[in-house]
Symmetry: C2
Subunit: 136 residues, 2 copies
Amino acid sequence: MVNEKNYKKRDAILSYLRQTHTHPSAEMVYGEVKSQIPDISLATVYRNLATFRQRGDIVCIGTVNGMERYDGNTRPHVHFICEGCYKVLDMPEISLSEQVYNQARSLYGCTANYCNLTINGLCDECTAHQEGEHIA
Amino acid sequence: MVNEKNYKKRDAILSYLRQTHTHPSAEMVYGEVKSQIPDISLATVYRNLATFRQRGDIVCIGTVNGMERYDGNTRPHVHFICEGCYKVLDMPEISLSEQVYNQARSLYGCTANYCNLTINGLCDECTAHQEGEHIA
DNA sequence: CTCCTAAATGAGAATGACTATCATTTACAA
DNA sequence: TTGTAAATGATAGTCATTCTCATTTAGGAG
């Protein structure tokens, strides 16, 4: 075992982010990892999320209902954000071409690090729920 | 003059958002409108921004450096976000096809309200500035 | 084994963007 | 003049996130 420093909690956070498809917030990560490792602190979650993001191990999707959402899948893909229940879904059916990425790079001489396409709306559940009420 | 209620400040906020291309935050809007109308309150800015967004008069681009950015141009277009100086630029050269929008609509039976594509990176100024330093 | 160092962590205080509250002001109509 | 409903100003409150600092941990040197 080489270099077995205090990485148990760190690794637990990263592996959870790579397993789940919920695109969790920091609080959601905290709640889940705490069930495995009860003596983990919320500060540790925030700290490691920031570290992972700097290293490029995870990706920030954006702020949903006031909370940043994280994704362990760093390959470019599209997200659907439900404005009703705030769930975040992958949309693998929609592909954002590499062309867009390269186009951004060439324009203005910018260094384009990351491409983020989100589609906002109501998921099917929230749409059905809303139609049940008398709302236009 | 029909219906000339207390809309001076409201109109000032909206017209500023439609004039500028800076994609300002609430604080930036406040600072700019305050130079025209000194007795305006920050609460009024936040309140009207929320109202405009509900009405569809403006659009939220997303959170940049902890602050929501607003755009008076509601037609779908792509934004570049500089991670160095936090400026937000329009990228009219990159067009997100209506196809993507409709594709999202058809998938899952979702109600897609809004499509947001942002490209994150360093603008040319920040890229040049960084190369001046000895950072990889 | 003991001491040392540097990184990781826990707990809680601090920060700051945003929202809620409530009294006041405004425009218009009766 | 009086009443009204909406808009506003000032400020307290909220809450996600960051900061601070003392403590713990793992591994290396002696």
